[in-house]
């Protein structure tokens, strides 16, 4: 599958959201095609409209002290954390041109993530009824998407660096008691972000048609 790649680098959550909404609009108007946005976020806790705020365990004073922002989002799913140690990926795909099936889109996304991890030597799996990518019972990638006029936005966050994981203790990720893991924790080495991005882009090109 072909798509335009946008690497936004280190960016705050809100402008990245604005960039996605503009792309969705362009695709809707026929002025752009499938797009893949890659970025890393400054520390932020995000929650969907149906999220339970009780899943944010830290007080606003604690979050302020740690320099962690709070942001509401239109994606599906409960509360999650994003930080610079994750590779955050937003596939803005026009399902009108692939298949109008949200379930299939989520499963294909999981398939692409587990392929990337397999290449890196990490045996990640999907778990029935638990959207995301898992290493045993630990979560390594979290997914939450939004669909507008059958154009997808938001996407997934792949945990890369280990030291970012501790901030997950400030929340109950996805409203569940989940243990998170990262590429660094599983492979016991630091794989450059650029290498992970290259592999990911190649694997996303192999999106099933």
């Amino acid at each position: 599958m072909r798509f335009q790649v946008y690497d936004l680098g280190l960016i705050e959550f809100r402008p990245a959201g604005e960039f996605q909404r503009q792309l969705v609009q362009k695709i809707k108007e026929g002025r752009a095609g499938h797009s893949l946005i890659l970025c890393r976020h400054r520390p932020v806790i995000t929650f969907g409209r149906s999220a339970n705020r009780a899943n944010i365990l830290a007080t606003s004073e604690e979050l302020n002290a740690k320099g962690i922002e709070l942001a509401e989002t239109e994606r599906g799913g409960d509360v999650t954390y994003h930080g610079p140690g994750q590779l955050t990926v937003y596939p803005v795909f026009d399902l009108n041109n692939i298949k109008k099936d949200i379930h299939l889109f989520l499963r294909n996304l999981e398939g692409r993530i587990t392929s990337v991890l397999e290449i890196l030597g990490i045996p990640a799996v999907r778990r029935e009824g638990l959207t995301g990518a898992w290493v045993g019972k630990k979560k390594i990638a979290s997914i939450g998407i939004a669909v507008k006029n059958w154009i997808t936005y938001h996407g997934f966050a792949l945990n890369v660096w280990e030291d970012d994981l501790r901030n997950f203790s400030l929340i109950r990720p996805c409203g569940m008691d989940i243990i998170m893991t990262s590429i660094e924790s599983e492979s016991k080495r630091l794989i450059p972000m650029t290498r992970i991005k290259d592999i990911l882009i190649k694997e996303m090109y192999r999106w099933p048609r």
Binding site: G76, A146, K148, N149
Partner: protein, 78 residues
């Protein structure tokens, strides 16, 4: 009177939860404007208005579960 129906969202998806109505009954809506947001699995989905008119009835409210094919509400066409 136009019906707002929950469409097929994908294989294995039979239900969705209403997460947000962008309009209240009695308000004017434009065709294709975002009318209601639904949530399924890890996805939110915006249902556009099928026509221009006034949102007259809402049968499912925020937090309610809707099955594919069910009528969420109606719009009095103008």
């Amino acid at each position: 009177m136009a019906k707002i129906i929950l469409p097929e969202l994908g294989e294995n998806i039979t239900k969705a939860t209403v997460s947000y109505w962008f309009f209240q009954p009695g308000e004017k809506v434009e065709e294709k404007a975002d009318l209601v947001e639904l949530t399924t699995d890890k996805a939110t989905f915006n249902l556009p208005s099928p026509c221009t008119g006034v949102l007259s009835d809402v049968y499912f409210h925020e937090g309610d579960t809707v099955s594919v094919g069910e009528i969420l509400g109606t719009i009095e066409e103008s």
